[in-house]
Chain length 377, copies 2
């Protein structure tokens, strides 16, 4: 597979009270168009990943909505898979190009979250889980806390290792002017930041964020252009209680395996990755399920600095969901953008040296959807 | 393009108060699996079209949700484009097969609508339109009434012609045991059924419906199997007020033109069609925009019986949205199923004779999305 990334665009991530979803979509899309040097008349289709706007603002039909905003009446599709909406939008855009139906496709991930009461957001996000979980009063921090507890019990993972993940990602975000929290934190600060659900603290958790990211995918790959070498998706039982184990995301394992085969690489070939750290435990699981370290060793792997900028495999150089922010529908698209910029050497202070193969992992809910992309230059 | 339809399944359409969305999904999908004679382990991906379940029941992430229900942890995607959600799910499933990524793909369209207060449904459905329209207090009957008035003023279309559309579709539904309203009505009854928004009456309008439909699309086309010869999508401005005209759906015109080219047929080659008659005026517009008759002549075309069973071009033999029912996410999938069954000669009392080419047209909102499929045997 070889689908070129012709252009990228991203808004600031954060509490953007002066910006509407419309503003965010237009800003990210226009930046991607400018970056690609393509006139908008060259865009053949539009895919948009978004989870919550229908529920929160009663605006559905976001494909035609975004196409209207941009003045391009092209085939337009809204894809939703909770927090994996952006990643799946990219996957399906790729399918449509491989099918020969469209040549240049604009993919937008966008979410507007901070204008609503946090209770409404928490409830809305639980739409990613199962009815049984909602009726049991579970929240996403609660579900991920169950996974963290199981990992701690089974593998001896420590709270300090969880905290080290957040500390690393805040360090990376401190080098990213688009990040929601562009400042450093310490292990001590994470541990003392207040328990959300034991063992997860406030600073183990990704925030509520507004933001949008856009990429233009192309049938043709120009010299020196980053391209998508693999795109693979898997699903798992929606209910955490109906899974075999709490310490593995099978969907990530399956999607990763498929992606490595497609791209003809192995985990050791990956130079950098953006993974779905909605909570610190999720990044630890990702390290293991993506094959970067052995099962159970994710905490140590991160603690020893391997995934910090300058380490062997920098992970979440954008700051990740934790510190760059997590506008849910935008996240999967932003991950691709971060890797694309890194591979082109455009990441400034947070540039990873000599990187030619990057990976993204975007998760829906507690892992009922997982999508893995591999990019090369 | 040649994508086989390996199996189909459908639930009863109607007020199914004893059935949950889960029940409907499982019922339609299992029927399609049985019809295809494929074991569920042969399904490589799942696409589901649904508009309202996140908003009404706080259940999003319907791809993984449906995959979990069916016990198939395959790549799973929820596609939403208001009332065109089902048609776009079919279009994207086709792309994924043409891309070579998946061989057998299950496409489900499903909607559960009757458990909620009608005010909530009316409001929820307006998510398909623009914020400007919602703030102006417009509803879908209101928007389509504007189109109907414009058509009456410009072309002399009569209320009797609008009514004739509903009468025909009820006649067809009277021959369909899955239909929500399997009984005949008269022109007089439509005209006297009470005004919703002048000139549209209650019986000019499609109902609120529960239901699901499923099809299995395959890379391989077996002898005597119906196949998809064209799949084309277009979008238009979301806002009715920002369109050039109220009497044409440009998105349908563009999608139809592309589809005819793909399938190498012209409108006169079409033996039967299922079109998006959310209101009677929509079917009149569809006749014109699909090229079955001249612009402005749709009312007469229907009134003279051309599109009635036994006529030259039977339209909406299922009963259409009007009388078979309109579970919004299911509609686009059900249309394909109806044509597939007709082309195979399995439609019993409503069988169209000597049909080998059929067309479907599925619309989102007031025409901001339109998707046209052409099927052949």
């Amino acid at each position: 597979m070889k689908i070129g990334i012709a252009g990228v665009g991203i808004t600031k991530f954060g509490e953007l009270w002066g910006k509407s979803l419309e503003d965010l979509i237009i800003d990210a899309a226009n930046q991607a168009l400018i970056d690609s040097k393509l006139d908008k008349s060259k865009i053949d289709a539009l895919f948009i990943g978004n989870m919550l706007y229908g529920k929160l603002s009663n605006q559905d039909h976001l494909g035609a909505f975004a196409a209207s905003l941009l003045g391009i009446n092209v085939p337009a599709f809204r894809i939703e898979a909770a927090c994996a909406s952006g990643g799946l939008a990219v996957h399906l855009a790729i399918q449509s190009i491989l099918a020969g139906s469209y040549e240049n496709v604009l993919v937008i991930g966008a979410e507007k979250m901070t204008d609503y009461p946090s209770s409404e957001i928490s409830l809305g996000l639980m739409g990613a889980g199962s009815e049984e979980e909602r009726h049991a009063g579970l929240t996403f921090p609660g579900l991920y806390a169950l996974m963290a507890k199981a990992h701690i019990q089974k593998y001896g993972t420590t709270k300090e290792q969880l905290a080290a993940t957040a500390v690393k990602n805040h360090y990376h975000a401190s080098l990213n002017s688009n990040a929601q929290y562009p400042f450093e934190i310490s292990i001590e600060k994470v541990l003392k930041s207040g328990s959300i659900v034991e063992p997860l603290t406030l600073l183990d958790s990704s925030p509520i964020t507004d933001g949008a990211a856009a990429i233009i995918l192309s049938k043709s790959v120009k010299p020196d252009q980053v391209y998508i070498a693999a795109s693979a998706v898997s699903s798992d039982n929606l209910n955490l209680s109906s899974r075999e184990t709490l310490t593995e995301l099978k969907a990530t394992q399956i999607a990763a395996k498929k992606a490595y085969t497609q791209a003809k690489v192995s985990p050791s070939d990956i130079d950098l990755a953006e993974v779905h750290d909605c909570f610190t435990i999720a990044e630890i699981l990702a390290m293991e399920d993506l094959g970067f370290c052995k099962k159970g060793q994710g905490g140590k792997f991160i603690e020893q600095g391997t995934t910090r900028l300058g380490g062997k495999l920098p992970v979440n150089t954008s700051g990740g969901l934790k510190a760059c922010g997590h506008p849910v529908g935008a996240t999967g698209v932003k991950q691709i953008l971060e890797i694309a910029q890194q591979l082109k050497g455009l990441s400034g202070k947070r540039q990873v040296k000599k990187a030619s193969v990057g990976l993204t992992q975007n998760v829906g809910g507690t892992g009922a959807t997982s999508v893995v992309h591999i990019l090369k230059i």
